[in-house]
Amino acid sequence: MTPTAHEPGLRTYVGIWIALLAIVAIEVALTLAHWPTTKLLAALLALAMTEAAIALLYFMHLRYERRILFWCVVPTVGFALLLMDHIWPDAFRALHMRLLP
């Protein structure tokens, strides 16, 4: 492995762990505040993506690897998920399809 930046120690990881726990606490607080479902979904997704980004960059060391690894992994998965987001609604169209008599 050839890291491109100095890797952090356990103390830094503890700080990141506390930050992730804080995000979980915010998620629970928003849920208990009984926001409307759409608004809550948007907020929870944004917070989950923030958590995931922190986990990817620090816990999974993507920040400390060569930048090309990041560009190979993240856009590829993101594109696959984007395609799914656009293809899944087709299931609703299929619900209303009728076979010809």
């Binding site: 491109t4 998620e27 958590e51 090309i68 190979c72």
Partner: protein
């Protein structure tokens, strides 16, 4: 760049442009495929949920508290795994093994809490094809499908870390193996970061 000439039958081997060992690259490729799998089932769940106006909200406060404890346990297990990786890289074998076994124990605790939640749901009449509240049956299928898939990953990960810890302790595996299995464990944690809010919190009463 040329790394070496391993044998008469092969030419020189090019260094990885990604700067990582092949085992780590294989793990990243697996993680990318698995991310697409979890993405597919979470998108499917999302669309099914949006399509059902009378979607059930079965989770009481006790389930949310249980989910928060599970989340804390899993996040802490990621931290202990990082401790294992750092100790392994520093050639501190016994310390690395302690961190890894702590990770395995936290994984088992997570699975136990998960099964407690499952048995509670099953006891209340939920199943993949039955909704005791009388609404759409898809909730049970989504809940048991998504959390079951994740639980399978947690159990597999705990076993894998246990095996790596044992073999690392015997000197048959090195720090790179510990780092690779750690990568998988953090991914399992990452998936839970989406499962908990989308499956538990969004369906709280």
């Amino acid at each position: 760049m040329v790394m070496g000439t391993p044998g008469a039958h092969h030419g020189p081997i090019e260094a990885s442009p990604l700067g990582i060992q092949s085992k780590k690259l294989a793990m990243w490729l697996f993680i990318m495929a698995d991310a697409a799998t979890f993405g597919a089932i979470l998108f499917a769940y999302g669309y099914v949920r949006v399509a059902a106006p009378d979607w059930p909200h079965p989770f009481e406060m006790s389930s949310i508290v249980n989910g928060v404890i599970m989340t804390v346990v899993l996040l802490t297990s990621s931290l202990t795994m990082l401790g294992g990786v750092l100790a392994a890289q520093a050639q501190k074998t016994s310390t690395a093994m302690r961190w890894m076994w702590a990770t395995v124990l936290l994984g088992i605790l997570f699975a136990g809490l998960h099964l407690k939640e499952w048995f509670g749901m099953i006891g209340a009449g939920w199943s993949p094809s039955h909704n005791p509240l009388g609404g759409p049956v898809n909730f049970g299928a989504a809940f048991f499908g998504i959390t079951g898939m994740h639980l399978l990953h947690v159990i597999s990960g705990a076993i894998a870390i246990g095996v790596v810890a044992l073999m690392f302790g015997r000197g048959r595996l090195n720090a790179a193996h510990v780092e690779t299995v750690g990568l998988y464990w953090h991914f399992v944690d990452l998936v839970w970061m989406f499962v908990f809010p989308l499956v538990y919190l969004l369906n709280a009463r």
